[in-house]
């Protein structure tokens, strides 16, 4: 019905959004506090010095670099693997299909602490030393499903007709992939990739198990928060990350928007 929302609904919806955002405002506020070691409310004073301090803290950069690297590799891997399963699952039903869909889902359906621990014990058993790749292994595993979900939703919407149309017009499978599937799947993959990237970038639960002595940005933050020393610096980093994710998320939204709308109107 295109009528107006009732007042109660509006209040509840707006209230819910506010609930989601008030703590974030606080994070912003405390990036400017003059108090260095602990949070105290209200903040005793405001300053912008922490941005400069953060910039000059050289211990931020290696974790940041590691996090970016891990997120990039995991996302790339997840995009390849996720697209492959999505392509396979979009093709006819086959034996074991349901089991596979469960398997894809498992890494996010099972608590991260379990994924992390399993990988850790597997590394232990196989004597694999911790490295960037051990972190990637964990991240890519749960990123696959993010990419998969986006890709499979788009494939479901994409009429199977256009793939057949392409073959009908003389394109071989590779040409069909290159000229029809990829352009149509592209935005969904990109959106999935961005979500996967953001997820990997902020992951701490699994990472603590697979990082060994390496420090990703969230692990660095955890140490900073637990052992406060220029605590506002963590807030500054959080804000920068927040600002950096704002546009990718917005872009991801516009890329997949058509999707949700058609989905909303379809049967």
């Amino acid at each position: 019905m295109r009528s107006e929302a009732s007042l109660g609904l509006k209040v509840a919806a707006i209230g819910g959004l506010l609930f989601l955002h008030l703590p974030i405002l606080l994070i912003f506020l405390y990036a400017f506090t003059t108090e260095e070691r602990t949070y105290e409310f209200p903040p005793p004073g405001l300053t912008t010095q922490w941005f400069g301090v953060a910039w000059n803290r050289e211990d931020i950069w290696p974790p940041l670099y590691l996090s970016l690297k891990v997120a990039a590799i995991s996302t790339a891997l997840a995009m390849i693997l996720g697209t492959l399963v999505a392509a396979a699952m979009a093709r006819a039903r086959f034996f074991g299909r349901d089991q596979i869909s469960l398997l894809i889902l498992l890494p996010i359906a099972l608590p991260g602490v379990i994924t992390g621990m399993s990988l850790r014990s597997a590394f232990g058993i196989m004597d694999i030393p911790f490295s960037t790749w051990t972190i990637v292994l964990g991240h890519a595993t749960f990123c696959i499903v993010i990419v998969y979900n986006n890709a499979v939703a788009r494939m479901r919407r994409l009429s199977g007709g256009i793939m057949e149309a392409s073959a009908d017009l003389g394109a071989n499978s590779f040409q069909t992939f290159r000229y029809v599937l990829l352009p149509n799947l592209g935005s969904a993959l990109l959106a999935g990739g961005m979500l996967a990237f953001a997820l990997s970038f902020d992951e701490v639960i699994v990472t603590t198990f697979t990082a060994g002595q390496q420090s990703t940005l969230p692990i660095w933050m955890l140490n900073e928060l637990v052992r406060p020393r220029q605590r506002p610096v963590t807030n500054v980093v959080a804000i920068v990350v927040f600002a950096a994710t704002f546009f990718p998320i917005l872009i991801a939204y516009y890329l997949t928007r058509g999707g949700s709308e058609t989905a909303g109107m379809g049967k």
């Binding site: 889902l105 608590p111 602490v113 597997a122 994710t245």
Partner: protein, 312 residues
């Protein structure tokens, strides 16, 4: 028109396509093998490695794992204090899931049904941004909000509503010297952190409820609330279940939040983390880990039956 009716293959790509056409299973196999290797070998393999460890035991004095098959560790899992942890976690996960569902519904519903154009984008961003802004910093922000001398306390003092907080803290089971040291605080932070994971699938499911369905209901004489109960809710259920998979599983496994906010009572995630990392009791940690695996497998089976997978 001289072209032949049958074209000759122009290169290996054409020949391969022909092969795929003649043997459709081959392409499927090629597609599915790499991800299956990854998930089946890396992931399931690791899970198996973990489960294997739950049948080992630990030398009580040196803390070294004894790699001999035993059920001793499971026996230990069934000690009352461990059962307490399991029960406490499951109750918390259920409460968090339920609350998330209730809080998420109006947001998801408004975003799906009424928000249009830029408002829709605003709602989307409004849900996504908290989701992707640093989890740790958010949790610490909550610690600050909930502390005795924190923002809520400060606001309550200013508005004379301190009795509400005192009231909550005097409810049996939620006692604490402040919200930040009360199980209620843990609950609140869980709800806050996982809420977006509930909103998104719920919104997707609600968007799939066709408008004509709602019109049909009104047309047949149903009031708004009747339509809500008898049409919207059942049709949105898969989305709710999909969201609940996230909130439930995330609560089962989190070990950061109960460490920072709450009364130090262990949850499964924290227990697993500490048994593994702090105490080095990998067998018991593994046995503990079996619990959420079982719970989630049952949950997933039920969810699948309710058609929730398509709503993820």
């Amino acid at each position: 028109m001289t072209a032949s009716a049958i074209l000759r293959p122009r290169g290996p790509a054409d020949r391969l396509t022909g092969l795929f056409w003649r043997r459709p299973g081959l392409l499927l196999l090629l597609l599915i093998t790499p991800p299956l290797l990854w998930l089946g070998v890396v992931y399931l393999g690791s899970l198996a490695a973990l489960l294997l460890q739950s049948f080992y035991s630990i030398d009580e004095f040196s803390g070294v794992v004894k790699e001999e098959f035993t059920l001793k560790t499971y026996a230990e899992l069934f000690r009352p204090q461990n059962l307490d942890i399991i029960l406490r976690t499951v109750v918390m996960a259920a409460a968090v899931t339920l609350t998330c569902a209730i809080l998420a519904f109006p947001i998801a519903y408004y975003a799906a049904r009424y928000a249009k154009g830029p408002w829709k984008a605003a709602f989307y961003l409004g849900v996504m941004l908290p989701l992707w802004s640093s989890y740790l910093v958010k949790v610490y922000a909550w610690k600050l909000i909930l502390a005795k001398e924190g923002i809520l306390g400060w606001a309550a003092e200013g508005t004379g509503t301190g009795f509400i907080i005192t009231g909550i803290l005097s409810i049996p089971g939620l006692e604490g010297s402040s919200l930040s040291t009360s199980p209620f605080g843990t609950f609140l932070v869980f709800v806050y952190i996982w809420l977006p994971y509930m909103i998104l699938p719920m919104q997707a499911a609600l968007e799939r409820v066709p408008t004509t369905m709602l019109e049909a209901s009104a047309d047949l004489g149903a009031t708004r609330s009747q339509t809500f109960r008898t049409v919207i809710l059942p049709l949105a259920l898969p989305g709710v279940i999909a969201g609940s998979i996230f909130t439930f599983s995330l609560t089962l496994g989190d070990y950061i939040i109960p460490q920072i906010v709450g009364d130090s009572a262990r949850f499964i995630g924290l227990a697993v983390y500490q048994l593994q990392g702090t105490a080095g009791n990998i067998p018991l940690a593994a046995a503990f880990a079996v619990v959420p695996i079982l719970i989630m497998l049952i949950y997933l089976t039920l969810a699948k039956r309710a058609g929730a997978f398509d709503a993820l």
